[in-house]
């Protein structure tokens, strides 16, 4: 789910860079030097994990894990997603260099929202709340990314309305898969290494 090179008009992709740059500057300022290599290592995991294909009927889709990045990394999720997209553009030619800012907004902002949704779980006393809220965070992260994608395309002119609608529809099955995988992964992390989900995950790696 990337916006490709050449689709967006200059005012939209430059706007994307401005917004992404603003969020990056705000989050990078809060980062400490010791977090830098750690976020990179975890970004590498998400990069590799997003290459995993999940079968969907006759075809297969690859994992996005937007929601899980938010759940695990919290505020630094945006930086991680920006890095992942940069590497995808440079190494695989997925997405694009000019569309990088727009793509970072499209996936990074939903990741931050997923983090917000997941941290609400503490207010609820229900069974399997990590799984439930993980699933909601994963699904809504994907849905939001779909809405952003459709929005960017619609902003680019009337000719892309049709593409925008189809792109949004294509997100529905992905949403279900993402929700399930994120829910199960959150439940697993809660069982095996609960510190990771406590918001200060980077400190939790100290032992």
């Amino acid at each position: 789910m990337h916006i490709s090179e050449g689709v967006l008009p200059p005012q939209v992709w430059i706007g994307g860079f401005v917004v992404a740059g603003g969020i990056l500057a705000a989050t990078v300022r809060k980062m400490k030097t010791d977090e830098l290599p750690k976020i990179s290592v975890i970004t590498a995991v998400f990069f590799v994990a997003s290459l995993i294909n999940v079968p969907l009927g006759p075809t297969s889709v690859h994992l996005l894990l937007i929601g899980l990045v938010g759940v695990v990394l919290g505020w630094t999720a945006f930086v991680s997603i920006f890095l992942g997209l940069t590497l995808q553009a440079l190494l695989f030619q997925f997405g694009g260099v000019t569309a990088l800012g727009a793509n970072a907004c499209m996936m990074g902002i939903p990741a931050l929202c997923a983090y917000g949704i997941f941290s609400l779980r503490k207010r609820f006393k229900i069974k399997h709340r990590e799984a439930v809220f993980g699933a909601i965070a994963g699904a809504s992260g994907t849905l939001l990314a779909g809405i952003f994608l459709a929005g960017f395309l619609a902003l680019s002119g009337d000719q892309f309305y049709g593409v925008a609608k189809l792109a949004l529809l294509a997100h529905i099955p992905v949403m279900i898969i993402e929700g399930a995988v994120t829910g199960f992964a959150a439940a697993f992390l809660h069982k095996v290494k609960p510190e990771i989900l406590e918001g200060n995950a980077l400190d939790a790696s100290r032992y």
């Binding site: 010791d34 830098l36 995988v181």
Partner: protein
């Protein structure tokens, strides 16, 4: 798909010999120029220039075409969707559908622009080792923090690719087969979770190892770049192309 973009960085060509900083700066300007073009004839000229650059770089054609595939397939549906959904007068009625021919022009513009830019990225990234290109980007005043993180992430992608391969083999040897069902999703969720748990532990060890080798948040390199006059000559040629394309697009 394998992240071996710099597989052919060791061969020689005028592009390979070009100083990475000058190369990235000037071809970067070309990328931005192409991204702002609006007229089909000029986009076609830009496309031809990009093909010429790829040929000059002597990167194997099969390598380049394989890397162009994702962009190629992702944008093909545009040729059908845009003409079918775009409102306009030049529509041709085929059965019950109105097919807008103007949509085909728009789709080909997007398509040629995308392929041109992707070819340029392959030329930039394919003609120097990835780490050299990143160091050059840092010299060009890109935020050092982001460059460093990209470098670290790039380094560890290969480690975790091996790790996933190992875990995959372990799952296959227990007769796990991916299917469209909840069990597969649960297994994939646990798989990603396990990968994360391992990486958190690894991240701390890596950081300790870096500290013990004197890491203090600044990237240090041993080699220096040397720019010769020829680097700027190549740069000016690219600049002339950029200006011609830009003015042509405004005048036409």
């Amino acid at each position: 798909m394998h992240p071996d973009i710099d597989k052919y960085a060791h061969i020689t060509s005028p592009i390979h010999r070009w100083d990475p900083r000058v190369k990235i700066a000037f071809l970067g300007v070309l990328i931005i120029t192409i991204a702002t073009l609006n007229k089909l004839p000029l986009i076609a000229v830009a496309f031809a220039c990009c093909i010429a650059l790829v040929l000059i770089s002597r990167l194997p054609v099969s390598f380049v075409t394989k890397r162009l595939l994702p962009a190629t397939f992702l944008l093909l549906p545009f040729f059908i969707i845009i003409p079918l959904t775009m409102p306009g007068e030049t529509a041709v009625k085929i059965l019950a559908f109105s097919f807008n021919l103007e949509g085909l022009v728009i789709a080909s513009k997007v398509y040629l622009k995308a392929l041109s830019i992707v070819m340029l990225i392959i030329t930039i990234m394919g003609t120097a080792p990835f780490t050299d290109s990143l160091k050059a980007m840092e010299r060009l005043k890109m935020p050092s923090m982001l460059v460093q993180m990209t470098l670290f992430t790039y380094r560890y992608i290969f480690v975790f690719l091996m790790e996933t391969k190992r875990m995959n083999t372990a799952m296959c040897s227990r007769n796990f087969i991916k299917k469209t069902n909840l069990h597969t999703l649960k297994t994939m969720g646990n798989f990603v979770g396990m990968l994360l748990v391992r990486s958190f532990e690894k991240a701390e060890k890596i950081y300790q190892a870096m500290l013990s080798r004197g890491y203090d948040g600044v990237l240090k390199t041993f080699f220096e770049y040397k720019i010769v006059a020829l680097d700027y000559v190549k740069g000016s040629l690219v600049m002339i192309v950029c200006i011609t394309l830009f003015i042509g697009d405004k005048l036409l």
